[in-house]
Every structure is written in structure tokens, then in C-alpha cells.
């Protein structure tokens, strides 16, 4: 239940509402809501997915978003000028790129001519500075670090409030929401008064019970004009770092499930209580500067000349990369020695993830008959999955969707093993509590401390026991509610409005047909079709889920792959498919697999053992092993301290490794086309590859799916890497060396304070140079322009991403060349074929 839905009349600290007051209240509530929506959500680290940090600003172009984020967070939205200077000097960005980008900029804002632009590149601009909060101004006049103290206190409370099970004595749950929970703590906490804010607990005890009332009262006391509300509220939420983003995630999940959640607004109210109290105390000294600040917030958000120049330079850098991509795609394809109609020796489907590209290339190089294809790594199987011996449903699907299926590892035959695994897990948990509890922790240390020599040695030397393979997953009925006894603050997992039963045969045939079509998986089928999800096997890494499959909700993808393989091996489904003209040969076996992106190994799951395919399986394993070696050798060149392929394979087991792999760093392109357009060419692990054959796509339903789902997910990934690189303070995960996992949901740096969402610095930087070149994704689609336009015209949110430049769009011609560049407003410009 959310506090925002409480009847507003239950507390009446405000004067009796007249109509004018009601309107003012509405405006304040709207501004608070807009500020909340300006914050990107941050998923908990147990299943984190990449999020576009500019999600709330995607309706604005880069320069305007830059102006807004500079005001509210002091965040840059482009790399420093020196980066562009270096690229121009190196010839990567050409004069033509600069001119094209300049020409594309609004004439009234851009520099007068190209010369002025080139002159501007030579000058560094100072980093943006956020408008001050009352706390900042109070710090200036009092010499007390109020912003730091607020961050520390708020962090101490929020860490307890959002804890998912680290503390044995959890913070009490409060059904009335975060604001009420905070008030219960803040009225007891003596720290602010010890630090020099006498009467703060009393102040908290007297604030309105309803957070919106408090927001309204504080806005009035702080003298905020209506026009100043939105960016001021946004400013306050940004000052809460990842806590505001985690609150925004709570809202995202609630809304996906059809509900609502006011945690973000609650945090805003909490932060405003501090502002109000500090303003009451320091008003005489800061009134003048505060009035200036309010006026600055009230001014419209408009880009400065420098921000426009930066966004032109960024576009020029992207055009430079697009030129290189166009050249790669235009290069003559190596002649294929097999006819397209011949039966492949092996088919393997991988996730579109950029890490699949080098592996697919290596695999295809081993035998001319090997075909690979790319598809979203959940393979269309949106399942809420329970691991072996687990009650917890994991949402293994893109976060834009709600689960359509429920699955669990193991069958009835595994019931006994399931039971004993649970007992073992519960005994382990009891041991963990014994280790942590008061008094018993002393006995634990004295009785078992010396045994840790063995654990230290095995972890230090990277001797990691093999994780037992989970039994094959199967579809199950939905779990009745009430199984989740963890101290979750309410059921925030969205569930689809299904009847909870596994799909019947007709529904399974429908699903199989749809997925085969979406994958463009068509005859000729090989005897063995491998469906390879991906994951990263890592130890001791809080950000491990950032390296897992984003399409599987931040989990590894083998469950979805195994479920699809079972579906497609199903005899009934096969005959159903044949009846609909999508016959799959009887001797074709689908096999689920997991591509470990850290070690570049592939595990095949022999869930439906077939004696007839033993040789095919052995051959496939040999090919995957050889492809792994090739891929590791290629990756070793890019990874620091990786002298050889063998060194790459060991990184995941190293408990001190902060860069086990580069994840999706470097991603810059998304290509939806038949594999023949990209096959045999190196895309350097920087491209998402989605197989798509528009001539097989009657009605362009698959095109619509691609543009609205995988492209959007890819944009979130690309912009997360972008944001974590150009604005590490606002949108980056901080320094891994200082990470302190809090509540099992996220990391703080050091002792406490703000949650750090986004990618850690070590994930986007090798120490000497950035590992990710911040470029907005170039989406290349081989399809008629009219068809693409049609999809964009129906999906405003997607179209906005292209119109405002958060994504670049290209149409490939019938030769697979980048022929048309999308310009805003459903218009296209022809590309210069000479490049």
C-alpha cells in the first residue's frame, strides 16, 4: 500500500483547503511525480539489468538533457573535449564528420560556421556544477558538511529499510511506506543533534504524516515558485544517488504488476524535511543565495552554447564510427563454399549480446557448414523460474515484460534429492546464523576459525568447485502466493494475468511457431540445433549479474534455452508445426546450452539423450572447444594482464579479479539482418546481431517486435555504458576497491552513504584508457524504409529515441549496405555510397 493513496483529509496541518490551495497542491504533486519519473530505476544486484540512465530525459535531445542534468546533478553527458581533440588529431573524426554533424544541429544554437566549431574544440569547458541545495548553502555558512551528513544518515536508514536479508535484526517493516518508516527512525536518532542540528528529532515528529502534505508545506516555506519545483525536486532526488533509483525500481515493478508505489516521492519528502529544518536554522545567512537558486530553478531548461557544441562533437564521433561500420558492411563478403540450401553441419543460436559475435565468428570459421544465428537470449521463453530446491521465483525475462510461464528445475523423480538439498541449504543457513548471532559467534570463531586456512587457500588459489548442474527445467503451474517468506517489503514481482497453468499442446504449438518465426529459424535444419543462452561464471563479484544475460533479467540464460529445446523436441509440437507447414526433420535434435562469456566455454545440456546424435554431440563439443580457444585468444588482447587464452579462462575463478571480462563494453551497433550480411567479417565484439529476414516477415510483425523489444533493451545497455562512462559520479557504480555490499541489493563505497547504481569504474575503464567508447547505438535494419516508418509511427516511445538522437537508425539496402540514415520526423537521407 502506498502512502500517496491515503485520503488526504486524514491529517490537516495545512489551512482549510480553498480551491486555489487545491490547485497548488495538485501542481506540487505533479511536480513531485515528474521528478520521480526523471530518475532511472536501478535493479537490485541479485538480478540487475542495464538501465538507460537518461530514461527520464529521452524526450529531450542530448544538449537539453545535458542542461537539465548539469542543473540537477552536475553531470556531464559527453566526454571531455580532449577526447574529441584526440580523435580529430588522430584522423578518426574527419572534417566531413564535423561538417555533417554541424549541419544537422539547430541553426540558431550551433556555432556560426565550421571554423568556429573547430576553434571551440580547442577549449576545455569546466565541468558542470549543480545548483546548490539548502544543505549546500548551509554547509557554506556553517562550516558543517550538511550534504555529507544527510547522505550518511539517509544512507544508514535506507540501507536498513531496503535490506533484503544481510542484517539478522532487520529494520521493522512499515506498511505505510518509506516516509513513515523513516520518521519512526528519525524521531529516535540522536545523530543529527549530536552533529549540530538541535531539535531535529522534534522537528521530524511534528512534520505532516502525509508525505505530499510535507512536500507542499516545505515548498511553501522554501518559497518555491511553481516553475522551480520540478528541477529542484529532481535535484534533491539526484542528491540521494542510487537510493532514489532503487525507489524508482520499486515503482517500476509495482506499475508493471498493475499497481503503484510512492517510495520515490517518500524519499523526496524525507530529503525535504532536512531542507526545511536547515532552512529554518540558516535562513538569515543564506536567504539571498537561496532566492537566486530558486530563480535559477524556475528558468526554463535550455542548453548552453557549449552543450550544443559538445553534442555536435558527439554526433561527429558517432558518424566517424558509422563510417567504419558502413565500410565493414560494404566490404565484399567472403565467398561461401556451401550452398544456402545445403543442410548445415551444425546450427547454433546465440543471444544477440555483443559477446556472442566473436564466438560465432570463431565457430563459423571452423567448418563451412556451421550456421549461427542471433536472437534475444531468453529465446522468447518469458519464465518465472524456481531453481532446484528453491521457493524463490526468479524473473528470467526482459524487464519490460511480465512472466508468461512458470518453471522449476527438476521433475517428480528428483523430489528426494530436492528435499535433501533443501535440508542441506537450511542447515547451511542455520550455520550462517550461528556464525553471526550474538554470543554464538564467539563459539563459532574458537571452534572453527583455524579451519578457514583451507578456505583461504582454496579461494586464494582459485580452486573453485564445479557448480553442480541443475536438473532440466520443466514448466509448472504457478506457485500459490504466500510461499515467499523472505522479508520482502510486499510482493513486488509482477505476475502475468494467466491462469497459472502450463500451456496446453495447442498453446505450445503456437508458441513454438511464433518463436521459430521470430528467430528466423527456417529450413534447412541441421541434425543438431544448439540453443545457447549465456552467463558469466564468476566468484566474489557483487556486479556478477551485470555480466549475465540482460534478456533473462540479469540471470544466466541456460534455463530459457533448455525450456525452448524441450518445447521444440516435443513430439506433439513437432507434428503440430508440420501441420502448419513448419516441419522440422525428425532427425533434428534441439539442445539447450550455456555460453560462459568469461571463460568462453559452452556447456551442452543433454536433457533428451539421443543415441542417434551421440556423434553429432561429440563433434559439436569439439567445435565449441576450438571456438572457445580462438575467442579467448582474441579477447586476451583486450583484457589487462591476460597473456594467453588460458589466463582468460581462469579469470572467473579469481576472487581478486575486478575485470573478469569486459561485458558489453564497446558496444556500438545493432544489426538486424540475415547473418550473410555480417558473416566472415569482424565486428570486434561491438555489435548486437539479430537475425532477421524481412522477406519471410509477412505483415512485418517480427520487425515490430525487434524494434520495440531487443532494440530498446540494447539501447538501455548502450546508454548505461555511455552514462557510466561520461558521468561516473551520477550514473556510475563507483570504485570496486571500496565496494561494500549493502542489504544484498547494491553497493556503497566505503562506510556508508549513497547507494551506487550503474557500472563500476573498473567495468568501463582499464585504468589507463576507457574500455568503453561512449557512442549512442547505431541500429541497422535490413527492411524496407516504409515498413520501419510504419512501426515507428505506431510506437511513439521508440520513435522518440530515434528522433531525439538517443539511437541512430539506418536502413540496409538489398546488398546489406548502409544506404539510408534516418533523420528525425520519419524522414530519411541517402548515405554517400563512396564511403
Amino acid at each position: 500500500m502506498s502512502t500517496a493513496t491515503l485520503p488526504l483529509a486524514t491529517d490537516a496541518p495545512l489551512p482549510a483547503p480553498a480551491n486555489g490551495n487545491d490547485n497548488a497542491f495538485e501542481r506540487i504533486a505533479t511536480a513531485a511525480d515528474r521528478a520521480a519519473l526523471a530518475i532511472p530505476p536501478a535493479w537490485p544486484l541479485a538480478s540487475s539489468v542495464a538501465v538507460n540512465p537518461f530514461l527520464g530525459q529521452s524526450g529531450e535531445d542530448l544538449a537539453t538533457a545535458g542542461a537539465r542534468l548539469a542543473r540537477v546533478a552536475g553531470a556531464a553527458v559527453t566526454p571531455p573535449r580532449a577526447t574529441y581533440r584526440a580523435k580529430i588529431a588522430a584522423g578518426a573524426i574527419t572534417e566531413a564528420d564535423l561538417l555533417a554533424a554541424w549541419s544537422n544541429a539547430p541553426p540558431d544554437l550551433r556555432p556560426t560556421d565550421l571554423a568556429a566549431l573547430k576553434q571551440a574544440v580547442e577549449h576545455d569547458v569546466p565541468p558542470p556544477v549543480a545548483l546548490p541545495t539548502v544543505a549546500d548553502l548551509a554547509a557554506g555558512v556553517s562550516g558543517i558538511d550538511w550534504p555529507g551528513l544527510i547522505a550518511e544518515r539517509l544512507g544508514a536508514w535506507a540501507a536498513g529499510h531496503f535490506d533484503e536479508g544481510q542484517a539478522l535484526w532487520a529494520a521493522p517493516r512499515n506498511a505505510r511506506g518509506a516516509y513513515a518508516a523513516w520518521r519512526a527512525v528519525a524521531t529516535h536518532d540522536l545523530s543529527p543533534e549530536i552533529a549540530g542540528l538541535p531539535g531535529f528529532a522534534l522537528h521530524v515528529s511534528e512534520v505532516p504524516v502525509n508525505p505530499l502534505r510535507l512536500i507542499a508545506r516545505a515548498s511553501e516555506r522554501l518559497g518555491l515558485a511553481d516553475a522551480a519545483l520540478e528541477t529542484y525536486f529532481h535535484r534533491l532526488l539526484m542528491s540521494l544517488g542510487g537510493w532514489a533509483q532503487y525507489a524508482r525500481y520499486k515503482r517500476w515493478q509495482a506499475e508493471l504488476a498493475g499497481g503503484s508505489d510512492a517510495t520515490t516521492t517518500d524519499l523526496l519528502a524525507i530529503r525535504l524535511v532536512w531542507e526545511e529544518a536547515l532552512f529554518a536554522r540558516y535562513a538569515p545567512a543564506i536567504a539571498a543565495r537561496w532566492a537566486e537558486t530558486v530563480a535559477a530553478h524556475a528558468a526554463p531548461v535550455a542548453p548552453s552554447a557549449d552543450l550544443v557544441i559538445d553534442s555536435i562533437l558527439q554526433e561527429a564521433a558517432e558518424r566517424a564510427a558509422q563510417r567504419a561500420l558502413a565500410a565493414t558492411l560494404a566490404a565484399p563478403a567472403p565467398a561461401s563454399s556451401t550452398s544456402p540450401d545445403a543442410r548445415p553441419s551444425l546450427q547454433a543460436a546465440f543471444c544477440i549480446d555483443v559477446r556472442s559475435e566473436p564466438f560465432r565468428r570463431a565457430l563459423e570459421s571452423l567448418d563451412p557448414g556451421i550456421r549461427t544465428l542471433g536472437f534475444a537470449g531468453f529465446f522468447g521463453v518469458a519464465t518465472a523460474h524456481r531453481r532446484f530446491a528453491s521457493d524463490v521465483e526468479e524473473l528470467r525475462l526482459p524487464v519490460l515484460l511480465t512472466p508468461a510461464l512458470h518453471s522449476a528445475a527438476g521433475s517428480d523423480a528428483d523430489a528426494e534429492a530436492d528435499r535433501s538439498a533443501r535440508i542441506a541449504a537450511r542447515a547451511k543457513r542455520a550455520w550462517g546464523r550461528f556464525k553471526l548471532a550474538a554470543v554464538s559467534s564467539f563459539a563459532f570463531v574458537e571452534a572453527t576459525g583455524p579451519l578457514h586456512v583451507g578456505r583461504i587457500l582454496s579461494d586464494s588459489l582459485g580452486r573453485v568447485g564445479a557448480t553442480p548442474e541443475e536438473p532440466a527445467p520443466r514448466l509448472v503451474p504457478a506457485q500459490p502466493h504466500g510461499h515467499d517468506h523472505g522479508h520482502d517489503h510486499g510482493h513486488d514481482h509482477g505476475h502475468a494475468h494467466d491462469d497459472g497453468q502450463p500451456p496446453d499442446l495447442a498453446a505450445r504449438i503456437d508458441a513454438a511457431e511464433k518463436i521459430l518465426g521470430a528467430m528466423s529459424l527456417a529450413p534447412p535444419f541441421a541434425r543438431l540445433v544448439v540453443l545457447a543462452g549465456h552467463g558469466a561464471r564468476l566468484v566474489n563479484n557483487p556486479h556478477a549479474s551485470a555480466l549475465q544475460c540482460g534478456a533473462c533479467g540479469g540471470y544466466s540464460g541456460e534455463v530459457n534455452a533448455r525450456l525452448l529445446a524441450a518445447l521444440l523436441n516435443d513430439r506433439g509440437v513437432r507434428s503440430g508445426l508440420a501441420a502448419r507447414g513448419r516441419a522440422v526433420p525428425d532427425d533434428t535434435l534441439f539442445v539447450g546450452a550455456l555460453h560462459d562469456t568469461t571463460a568462453d566455454t559452452v556447456t551442452l545440456y543433454d536433457d533428451a539423450p539421443s543415441a542417434a546424435h551421440r556423434a553429432d554431440m561429440a563433434q559439436a563439443r569439439a567445435w565449441f572447444e576450438a571456438a572457445g580457444t580462438l575467442t579467448r585468444t582474441e579477447r586476451a588482447l583486450r583484457l589487462p594482464r591476460a597473456g594467453s587464452a588460458a589466463a582468460v579462462a581462469r579469470r572467473g575463478n579469481d576472487w581478486s579479479e575486478t575485470r573478469p571480462e569486459w561485458g558489453l563494453a564497446g558496444c556500438s551497433a545493432f544489426i538486424a539482418a540475415p547473418r550473410t550480411r555480417t558473416g566472415g567479417r569482424s565486428l570486434a565484439g561491438r555489435a548486437f546481431l539479430h537475425d532477421y529476414d524481412w522477406q519471410q516477415d509477412a505483415g512485418f510483425g517480427v520487425l515490430e517486435l525487434i524494434l520495440t523489444a531487443p532494440v530498446v533493451v540494447a539501447s538501455w545497455i548502450s546508454l548505461q555504458y555511455y552514462g557510466s562512462t561520461v558521468a561516473p559520479d551520477a550514473f556510475g557504480g563507483g570504485n570496486k576497491l571500496l565496494h561494500n555490499v549493502t542489504g544484498g541489493i547494491g553497493v556503497i563505497e566505503g562506510n556508508g552513504g549513497l547507494l551506487r547504481a550503474g557500472l563500476p569504474w573498473q567495468s568501463v575503464h582499464d585504468g589507463e584508457t576507457p574500455a568503453h567508447e561512449p557512442l549512442r547505438l547505431s541500429v541497422c535494419i535490413e527492411a524496407p524504409r516504409e515498413a520501419i516508418e510504419g512501426v515507428l509511427a505506431r510506437h511513439d516511445a521508440v520513435r522518440t529515441l530515434f528522433d531525439k538522437g538517443w539511437l541512430n537508425l539506418f536502413a540496409l539496402d538489398d546488398d546489406g549496405h548502409m544506404a539510408w540514415r534516418y533523420a528525425a520526423g520519419l524522414r530519411w537521407t541517402a548515405m554517400d555510397p563512396s564511403v
Partner: protein, 529 residues
Amino acid sequence: MPPAFPLLPLPVLLILLPLFVPLLAVACLGFAQGGRRRPPHLPRLAEVAALLALAAALALTVALIVLGPGRLGPSMRLDALSAIMLLLVTFVGWIVVRFAGTYLDGEARQGPFTGWLCLTLAAVLCLVAANHLVQLVAAWIATSLLLHRLLLFYPERPAAQRAARKKFVTARLGDVALGAAALLLALAYGTGDIGSILAAARQGDGGGLAVAAACLLALAALLKSAQFPSHGWLTEVMETPTPVSALLHAGVINAGGFLLIRFADVMLLAPGALAVLVVVGGFTALFGSLVMLTQPAVKTSLAWSTVAQMGFMILQCGLALFPLALLHIVAHSLYKAHAFLAAGGAVERVAAIRRPGPVAVPDAAAVARAFGAALAIYVVVGLAFGLTHKSPQAAVLGAILIFGVAYMLAQGFADAAPRALTRRTAVYALATSFGYFALHAAAVFVTQGVLPVTPAPGPLEAGLLVLAVASFGLVAIVQAMFPLWAYHPAAAGLRVHLSNGFYASALFDRIIGAWRTDRPPTGSTPSRT
């Protein structure tokens, strides 16, 4: 006064070369790198140096077994205590240096970091091997100053500065106390040779000066071990890379306890000082372990655990159970080094907690049965290890073991727990009790002759023993029934105060002006370089 120990032969003395020289050489090499990223070969060389030190400690241990205890040159000694500490420090040192070599890859100033790390290790080794007051005091101060450099590896972080300032103030008070204690010892016994001082103290010599020295040693140990109310710095020094936390919590923090054990013979001359150790250590142990329950961040929770464990170790020293205190230092160090370095797995561990279903909550009857069963286990296993020969002090510690084991059993005795779980927890309880007694017996055996026998308790000690049993027992019962009361609204305020460590650190901050700032009123987004 003649030295108590014979001088060990030159070949043994030469083992000190691989113990110290490689570490010092690598330190120099590290400092020479300056801000260079990925200094070539340095991580590998540092690990080799740490391994050589570990090998030297092993060689010294062999020499000790073969030749018996003795002096090493003018100011060092080799006995069971110094050998165990050398082994512990070099082992943890090797692990930490190895970890840091990869962990800091790509970091600016990796070279100087490695340098400070190696120097700190060398200083701790000097400390634990000291046989002369001058070396002891010098190594003690050097350890603290070198650690200070590591704690400020990111000097621009305000929180790092806050914690380091608190640490600095506390450490300097400790330095003064130790310096004064050393001076008084030298005056009381007319020598700086620790072996001679201990031998004389064992005869009851020393008089009022020695008693005063013991009081100052106790003070120095309390400050060094982050005992209430000086614990604030320890729970806030996560502002530096994880390997430093591991080294601090598994190595440097032990200096206080080591000091008390080293001067055990002197400490026995001052029952009043020991009583203070019992009270402060016992309180800190319970306080720290309760605060830890409320901590949602993994490293912070581990730091509070260290406060508590050090309190328990100080309690053991206060009860004159020095061999057990030594065991506790070793056991805790190994556990805590691993726990800090593996802290990155906390996300997965928290996620795993919920998977097997709800926790079975024991009711009062189950708790009572668990305490009864734990007592039975204690008696049975204890008799096997000669329970009847134990001092009352050791019996009290055994009682605390019962309380802990009872908590384990209570989880299995809960009505909702399946039988198989009950069996497993019972097996764990038995294994824990067995391990506990076996390790105690080993600790007493190894330190025979080096550490004094626990004296029979007088009225003061008897009173403290009762107090200890009562307070630990009460907390244990409260803990076992925890889910039944912790979420009562009446407990909410207590939880807030407890989670803030009763504001001792906030008051410390206020006194030293830790939240004062000179920075201009600009943006408040956290900065990182």
C-alpha cells in the same frame, strides 16, 4: 639480571634475512614506481617476498621445535607466542599481498600501496618478535603510522579522513600509554629485555611500578583493540581497498591482545587491571555483537564483529586465560581475513538465504530443550577432554560455548524444523564442541611454559565470573528467542540506538569536529577520482 633465554645460533638468526629483507626491498621498489599504473613485475615480486617471509616463519618454527625457545640477536625472541604470531602474520600477509596484486591492477599508486603494505607487514613482524622494549614500542608506533598511510589511500574522501582522524587520536593515546608503560617497566626491572622482565615478574618482582605499568599496558591494549568507547574508528575504516581491511582486521588489530599475552606475567601482578579488562572486554563483546545484528552492509557488519571478537579476546586476557586468548587471535584472524576478502559474494549469499523456504522459529520450550542438550554435549565432550582439570575461568568460557551451541540446536529444535534438519544441527553442535575443546587443549599444550597458568580466582574474580556467565547467558537467551520480540514496536527505538552504536562514534566526531568542512557551497554529488 641474566637473560631468561639462551641465545640461538647464527644459522637461526640468518633466517631473519628472508623474513624481512625481501619485504623491505619490494617496498623500496614499490615507492620508486610513484603514480605509474601497472608497475611491471611488482605484484609478482611482492607475492614472492611475502612467500619468503612465510617460509622463514616456518623455518623459525622448525628451529623452535628442534632447539627450543631462545633469543634472536639483541632484540628479538623465538618462543611459542612469537612463532605462532609470525606464522599467522606471514600467512595472512601472503594472502593479502597476493589478493592486492590483482585487485589493485590498473590503479594509480599501486606501487606505493604495495610499498606501504610490505612495510606494514614488516613492522608487525618486528612487533611480534620483539624481545626488547625499544623494539616493541618502535614497531608498535611504526605499525600504526604505516597503517595510517594505507587507510588514507584515497586521501580526498571525507569519510576516509574522518575515520583516519579518529584512528590517529586513538592510536596516539595508545602510543603514549605504551611508551609510559615501557618506561615504568624499564625502571621497575632495570632492563629493557622483555624475557628478563617476564622472568622477574613471574617471581612476583616489580612492585608498584610494575602494577602501574600493567595498568598502562591494559589501557594501550584497550585503545588498540577498539574497545568501547574507542571503537569508532574501526567500524569506519572501509574507506580503503578491501585488502587493507583484511590486513587490519586479521593482523594489525591483534596488537593489543598480543601485548597483553606477551606481558601476561606482568599483567598477573595487577588483578585490578585484569578486572577492568574483564568488564570492558565483556561489555564490548556483547555490545559489538548486538550492534552487528543490525548492520545491513557486509563490511560494516564484519567490522562490528571484529569489535565484539576483540572484546571477547580481551575478556579472556582479563580472566588470565592467555593461551585461549592466543587461540582466539589466531582463529579470528583466519576467519576474518577470509570474510573480508570474500565480501564480494554477499549478494549471492543474501539471495541464497531465502531459497530453501522459511526459517523455523523456535519457541521458549525449544530454546529450553536446546540449552539442556547443549549442556549435555558440553559435559560429555568436556569429560573426554578432562573437564575436571579445568580452572573455573575456563569453565566459564565453556559455559559461553554452551550458550552458542544452544543457539545452533534451537534452530533445529523448532517445531517447524524437519527431523533431518534437527539431526544436522545436532551434528554441527557436536562437531563445534569437539573442535572447541580440541583447540583449547592444543593451545594450552603449545604455550606450556611460555604463558603463565591461570591463577585460582579470588572474590573479585569470582564475582566477575558470575557477572560474565549471567550477562552472556541473558544475551544468549534473548538471541535465541529473537524473532519473537525483535519486531515488537517497543524494540524499535532500541534498534535505532543500537544500530548507531549508542552514538559513541558520533560524539567522537563532534569532539574532533569531524563534520567540519572548508569546501565551498557547491554541488553535493559524491566525488571520486
